[in-house]
């Protein structure tokens, strides 16, 4: 009854006209950034974060969450029609989705992608509703050592699953931790690495860092290349899949939903890992694995369901533990903090509307996405035809305004440009920015937890191995760090392609 009562409160909040509008805007913008290659949900959320200052925290979270799961819907459109993934979680959709389009089956591919996404998104919201509150209860038992160990294992998992060598991801995570230390130390009131720049005394802002690393650097890389893109000209008809398509897709959707949801919860996991794993699983379970990559509908249904289910799962550690599972959730954490709210075990009790409102809005958002996406596919294709030389100055301008309006400071604009340059070279040398951003956000929390743990143990690092939950988490982190050194495992390690 308590849960039902809370759900009722959530829907009352979500159905308020302003929140409905923000939900609609969020999913619409999310789909748009998902459709546009090179502009992912992280860049879009960092762009819009400053503009949410003027709205209520519930509306802001509803808007930003809508961008995240909306982008997952939109990403499949470009993968299927253009063979260019709109965002990284839709990379595998290209393999079979584009082949289906070439065979004149773009409609069923887009249809099953939207319907599978809807089912997975809705089911993962149900999971979020029932799993987050009990997890928050458990989290009340967490002390500083458990929090420190959990954040350590999150960063290690993200580095473990990163594309390319693990040492690169670990360097990024360590650099992110350092960046999180810049600014005033709240315990000793010492200014660290701020070089007498007043704007740095509160630390480096998350928004300029994220916009630089994900937005500016992407534009810099894109303008180096030939900016012509060809759209596969095909008539999109019969969006609703046939009975045979449904029979081939139902189990992949179910498996993708469960897999994606749990991989989304995992600290360091996320939508792109979920979609890759789902594709691998479907290929393994198929009677015709050799046909994958030639237009198998299961290769579209599974991964697209998995990446949508992962978005729901990813909210769980943030809302119940206060720990972001990936870079997108790190930005959402930034949004919570900017609005003076600390997500974590007490969020559900102290701010029920801020928890249940956005959760209920996800149901509405998923319905909106289904209703919007299928009829609007023609529009998204037209947007794809906007030439990049016209589009990129606008992306840059939004980044500039977003960075400036954060504190009305040109220093933030310069920080964004500097991180754009850093992101550009990181990509040139094949370093991933996601561990950096996650560690940057977790850095101050990790430092606090480490300090408190060491105070509690009077300087003994063994405290992390004397409490059961902390020991299990630290053990996992150590195993993940050591495994890549084992020669047999080096060959077997599951690596996400860049």
């Amino acid at each position: 009854m308590d849960v039902l009562g809370n759900i009722w409160v959530g829907f009352q909040t979500a159905f308020q006209p302003m929140n409905l509008l923000f939900c609609f805007l969020g999913v619409l913008m999310g789909t748009l950034v998902g459709v546009l290659p090179g502009l992912g949900p992280v860049a879009a959320m960092s762009l819009l974060l400053p503009t949410t200052f003027h709205v209520s925290p519930v509306s802001a979270i509803i808007l930003l969450a809508g961008i995240y799961y909306g982008a997952m819907y939109g990403g499949s459109t470009t993968s299927i029609l253009v063979n260019i993934p709109g965002e990284v979680a839709s990379v595998v959709t290209c393999l079979d989705g584009y082949q289906m389009a070439r065979q004149g089956r773009a409609g069923p591919a887009l249809g099953i992608s939207a319907l599978g996404s809807f089912m997975a998104g809705t089911l993962s919201t149900v999971g979020l509703m029932f799993l987050a509150p009990p997890l928050a209860e458990v989290a009340l038992k967490f002390g500083p050592p458990e929090y420190f160990s959990l954040m350590t294992v999150g960063l290690t998992i993200l580095s473990f699953l990163a594309s390319g060598p693990m040492w690169k991801a670990l360097v990024m995570a360590a650099f992110g931790l350092f960046l999180g230390c810049v600014g005033i130390d709240t315990v000793t009131a010492t200014f660290r690495f701020s070089f007498n720049i007043i704007e740095l005394s509160d630390g480096i802002g998350l928004v300029p860092v994220a916009m630089g690393l994900f937005g500016i650097s992407e534009v810099m890389l894109n303008v180096e290349k030939s900016m012509e893109q060809s759209i596969f000209e095909t008539k999109i008809k019969a969006l609703l899949p046939t009975l045979k398509d449904w029979a081939d897709s139902l189990w992949p959707i179910a498996r993708g939903t469960v897999l994606g949801f749990f991989l989304g919860i995992l600290p360091g996991g996320g939508a792109f890992i979920a979609s890759f794993t789902s594709y691998a699983l479907e290929k393994k379970l198929s009677r015709h694995p050799e046909k994958f990559g030639t237009g198998m509908i299961a290769g579209v249904a599974g991964p697209e369901s998995a990446n949508n289910a992962a978005t729901g799962g990813a909210f769980i550690p943030l809302l119940s533990l206060g720990i972001p599972a990936n870079a997108v959730m790190a930005l959402l954490l930034g949004a919570f903090i900017l609005h003076g709210i600390t997500p974590g075990p007490m969020l559900i009790q102290q701010h029920p509307k801020i928890f249940w409102g956005p959760v209920a809005s996800m149901y509405l958002g998923n319905v909106m996405l289904l209703v919007l996406n299928l009829p609007l596919i023609g529009l998204w294709v037209k947007i794809l035809k906007v030439p990049y030389p016209i589009l990129f100055p606008l992306i840059l301008l939004f980044c500039l305004i977003g960075a400036y309006s954060l504190n009305n400071s040109v220093i933030d604009v310069m920080i964004m440009a500097v991180f754009g340059l850093i992101g550009y070279f990181l990509k040139k040398f094949q370093y991933e920015a996601a561990p950096l951003v996650l560690a940057f956000v977790l850095g101050p929390m990790m430092e606090n937890s480490l300090r408190q743990s060491l105070f509690m143990s009077e300087g003994s690092l063994l405290i992390f191995f004397q409490r059961p939950i902390s020991t299990a988490l630290m053990g996992t982190a150590i195993v993940l760090l050591v495994f890549p050194l084992v020669p047999w495992f080096k060959k077997k390690r599951f690596i996400i392609p860049a």
Partner: protein
């Protein structure tokens, strides 16, 4: 040297510099950590991971992996034109004001990267500046700088 040797070497020095820089804030003891401890640990971690990366990259170099040219076949000056224009925008935004600075920025990019026709440049610059002003300043109440000319 291959790419990973160069990049890991650079990260090793960055990590070392962070460790050195952290010492000025004092490390304290484990029982009573001071402000420098966490950045010192972060710098140390960078050195360790970059060091292991350097060894890994050196092994690959011995197996024949060479330096891969990161700018080969690319119009890389475009990337740096964009970077320069971002810094220029940051420097000119307050003195020139949002409208003028934005119009110049958009006009410059439309001309410099892949040159568009003049009507597109002028129209695009003007429309973008005015529309973004209406959205951000008038609608969203962002406080954008007015500049010397008052707009």
């Amino acid at each position: 040297m291959n790419n990973d040797q160069v990049s890991s070497g650079l990260w090793f020095f960055i990590g070392g510099a962070i460790c050195m820089g952290s010492l000025q804030y004092k490390l304290g003891t484990l029982a009573s950590p001071a402000s420098g401890l966490m950045p010192f640990f972060a710098g140390l971690a960078i050195c360790i991971f970059a060091g292991s990366g350097f060894i890994h990259a050196t092994t690959k170099r011995r197996q024949g992996e060479k330096w891969g040219r990161i700018f080969a076949g690319l119009k890389w000056p475009n990337a740096f034109i964009i970077l320069a224009s971002l810094f220029a925008y940051a420097l000119l935004l307050v003195p020139l004001g949002f409208l003028l600075c934005t119009a110049l920025f958009i006009g410059f990019l439309l001309r410099a990267i892949i040159p568009q026709r003049w009507p597109v440049i002028i129209g695009g610059a003007f429309l973008t500046a005015v529309c973004s002003y209406l959205i951000f300043e008038v609608w969203l109440k962002a406080q954008l700088p007015k500049g010397l000319f008052g707009f």
